[in-house]
Symmetry: C2
Subunit: 193 residues, 2 copies
């Protein structure tokens, strides 16, 4: 998706060897107009796929998923919680996720009421690197006897194992921008059809 790549080149900041910081438009400040274009693109890529619900994970995925849902006929969006607060159902589907960025393990929790047999779920997230978060979401969908219809990612680090981990689990992955490498503070994209 050219508009996104252009935005990454203009506003993305490379930190160290493989961190791309995009907090001016994706995961701290959010560019709603760009999100809308991303929604159109996800709809285009998944137009022949049965999808009745979107699942994402707090916090950065939520804004994107909500806008994307508008392009899928306003289907409900569920966000998995990392901390189960006092208001959370006792009955949840839970999966352990290891975060490389933060070097710790956390749970993703979804109330059993919101994943059901017959659900065709599109998983949305901002980044795909090692795939741990998305694998946790797949696990949660499967626990609820739902089907993962696809995984929509904004920025994929194509040089990490995320995609192969997800495809190993039978998931179709669509990323709007795939980084081929980050080198000398510069970002290189993989060419996509």
């Amino acid at each position: 998706m050219d508009l996104l790549k252009q935005k990454i080149l203009e506003e993305g900041q490379v930190i160290g060897d493989n961190i791309l910081k995009v907090d001016s438009f994706l995961n701290h400040q959010m560019d709603v107009e760009l999100f809308n274009e991303m929604g159109k693109e996800f709809k285009n890529r998944f137009k022949d796929t049965k999808i009745n619900k979107i699942l994402t994970i707090e916090a950065s995925g939520i804004g994107i998923a909500t806008i994307v849902a508008q392009h899928f006929n306003n289907i409900p969006v569920v966000f998995a919680k990392k901390i189960s607060g006092s208001n959370m159902d006792k009955e949840t589907y839970t999966s352990k996720v290891y975060s490389f960025t933060k070097d710790k393990t956390y749970n993703v929790n979804v109330s059993k009421r919101f994943i059901n047999k017959g659900d065709n779920i599109l998983i949305i997230d901002d980044f795909l690197a090692n795939g741990c978060a998305a694998c946790g979401l797949i696990d949660v969908v499967k626990q609820g006897s739902g089907k993962v219809s696809g995984i929509g990612i904004v920025i994929e680090k194509g040089f990490q194992i995320g995609r192969s981990e997800l495809e190993k689990r039978g998931a179709r992955v669509e990323s709007l921008a795939i980084l081929d490498k980050i080198e000398d503070g510069k970002v290189y994209f993989k060419s996509q059809n």
Copy 2:
């Protein structure tokens, strides 16, 4: 806002003396169509107010704020972070917030790049109870020399001190549904013009 009140009566669950659980449409599963109507209503209430940015707090505020922004000409949305991750700017505006629900204190953090002099900011959140989170956001806006143009709340607990705390700080508060009381497992609304 009648549509919202109806939804609360149909799907809200009262827990204990003053917890209203609305996780089927507001803060775990999200009803995007309803969010859109909420966006229209906020725009209507703040139509004569100068607003160029929306500020909210992770996680539940993000989905609402993102949809609301579409009704304000796609202005940028910034979400304050409770945990400053490794990708976060070192230079942040920070305010301490006490959470009654979780009985602990946390920080709200916003990168200094995203609040500036001249900003007219609409603060959006899902709930207003004691007002601690919103006061933290006001504090952060003021640290950045921005102006709080208003505070848009989905559900206000009218029997708690939140509104008076915010008005004491000079903020205009608009809530789409105000709870007058919760009694015997039932929700009563305050009448609004």
